[in-house]
Symmetry: C2
Subunit: 334 residues, 2 copies
């Protein structure tokens, strides 16, 4: 993304006397009659959920993007530019049980989530330029419902970050005749310093340019443009590596690990007609925690005004994640 | 900064069932023997603070930037770029009393803080390319000590955000022969929709491109490159408008208002020799709160992966701030 990151590994030595987060609720009931995402329950909009048994997709009752948004008046002044924005917002429950997060679900249940993601990208991608699939997990990430779910915000515009990636990947491709992230994964697999997990089709690593303490990226080994282009084998392997990486994350501080994650792949809508060979599909994980289950990294003053700063190196983060057990702490305890 | 912001004012209607922050400590003692920033106390490094009576500046005991950082090995690969970074980190206490935030200090006390800021920019600017003065206020902003203070991180490099501003202001200046932010203030003063406060020398407004719900900018009316270039009159007027704007902020939710703020002006170090006429000095305020003293705006999934999204328009935020009393809620209550 063309940006620098300030790395200050000596900073972990300072004592922490600042804000401590509330630990996540320890026991989440499998079914809660007052939880609007459980099967059969009524949502705040008055709509009733079906008795779903797998995933469950519905339109967000409070969408940030509307199918018909207002058109702002045109302004020729370069300092006051605005443009209409349309879109669709959906929510997908991963599973009927509120207490089952992705690492605790079976591999075939995770596989169903992956299939659904691919379908959503096809469906909304017919109409919209960008389909952002993302999961906010944990109170600390603004998630207001513990029932495992993700969101989709599809838009008539290419948002800032994907637009930058579109441009930088294109420039790299034009110069080197190979997709940037395909090249990148090849080099990381040679070097190994930042790779945490890999299987036949996928690599999980701490990117060289990571900003959050335990930020990671999940990439296919093959050149893949979009979720729907994944083969059945690649989907199986994705379910496998997702379960493993999320287990490691949970094991890091022995807590249901909070993060925001999402998928980036070639744009859709009008871009479906274009050559997007410079794109490579990947998932991004941004976890806020730094020192423990309750002490996060604050991206504040210097980070908001100047530049991201991290307190441990990417290699230290990878090493730490690598050292963690592959068995979920909850199954070890029971 | 060349980016778009998604504006969804209809979103404030949704109910909030998510995380609620701990309210800030209501009563902060004027002097706390265990607070490392109070006059006469010993800091965790073992150093003892003097019995200071005004501002108090010292070197950060846990600096993120070191005077002699390591030099990373050179790498010719465009995907693995690193560079050495040197710097200095300082802390400035605003006042000997822990219970006095800037809006509660006298105008002449605020004026002393401003003078000190100008001095710091001269001193560290002799050696360093960028002197970032910033204040993290409140637990929610990662501030670990309630004693009113700010920080300074000076660096041998131009950080990402200032580098972007350097480039965009230069491009505007080359095209229009007038500094972008001088032009911008002129237009905002004509339009008035987003201006909240002004006095003879300063304007406080919600920028057209604001990302945080109550994000604001403070700009001089005259073309000024750096803090040290402010005239005595402009410094007096700055102390006046700062006290007023921070009073409005505290009155918004009747709480000591959390934020990160900082100053951006023309770069220093080797840039002192160059023409920086495209720059205009300004302060930025980034407050996290959205709905109340305890419900913040979460910049998570969509914002981290795609684009900033706001839940009220910049004009609505300006109108709200405009409507607030100019007298601090604490003085009204006592
Ligand atoms: O005030 P501190 O403890 O030095 O640190 C605080 O501000 C820094 C600069 O914005 C951040 O990097 C830290 O995450 C935050 O906790
Ligand atoms: O899950 P919600 O309640 O729709 O909303 C959450 O995710 C959104 C998208 O990242 C953010 O804009 C909100 O601030 C956050 O609370």
């Amino acid at each position: 993304m063309e940006n620098w990151v300030t790395v200050s590994p000596h900073r972990m030595k300072r004592p922490w006397k600042g804000q401590v987060e509330k630990p996540e609720e320890a026991v989440i009931p499998r079914y809660d009659p007052s939880n609007s995402l459980c099967p059969g329950n009524t949502r705040s909009s008055g709509k009733v959920n079906p008795q779903y048994e797998g995933t469950f997709l519905f339109d967000n009752d409070f969408p940030a993007l509307l199918k018909d948004g207002p058109s702002p008046p045109p302004n020729s002044d370069p300092l006051f530019q605005s443009a209409p924005a349309y879109g669709a917002c959906q929510v997908m429950c991963f599973h009927p049980h509120s207490d089952l997060t992705l690492p605790l679900m079976s591999q075939s249940e995770v596989r169903e989530v992956i299939n659904k993601w691919a379908e959503i990208n096809i469906d909304l991608g017919k109409k919209y330029t960008w389909v952002q699939i993302f999961e906010n997990k944990g109170n600390i990430m603004g998630c207001s419902n513990p029932h495992p779910h993700c969101q989709v915000w599809a838009s008539s515009y290419l948002p800032n970050d994907p637009a930058t990636k579109h441009r930088t990947q294109k420039a790299y491709y034009d110069k080197h005749q190979v997709p940037m992230l395909v090249d990148y994964v090849k080099k990381e697999l040679q070097n190994k310093e930042r790779v945490v997990l890999e299987n036949e089709h996928w690599v999980w690593l701490v990117p060289y340019w990571a900003v959050w303490p335990y930020e990671t990226m999940l990439l296919p080994k093959r050149h893949v443009l979009r979720l729907q282009d994944l083969t059945p084998d690649e989907r199986d392997a994705l379910a496998d590596i997702m379960k493993k990486l999320l287990t490691k994350y949970d094991n890091l501080f022995e807590v249901s690990f909070p993060y925001s994650m999402g998928w980036h792949g070639a744009p859709t809508g009008e871009y479906l007609q274009e050559d997007n060979s410079h794109w490579q599909l990947h998932a991004l994980y941004f976890p806020p925690l730094l020192r423990s289950a309750t002490v996060k990294k604050f991206m504040v003053g210097y980070e908001m005004l100047a530049q991201s700063q991290r307190d441990l190196t990417a290699e230290q983060a990878a090493e730490k994640l690598l050292s963690l057990p592959d068995v979920h702490y909850k199954s070890r305890k029971s």
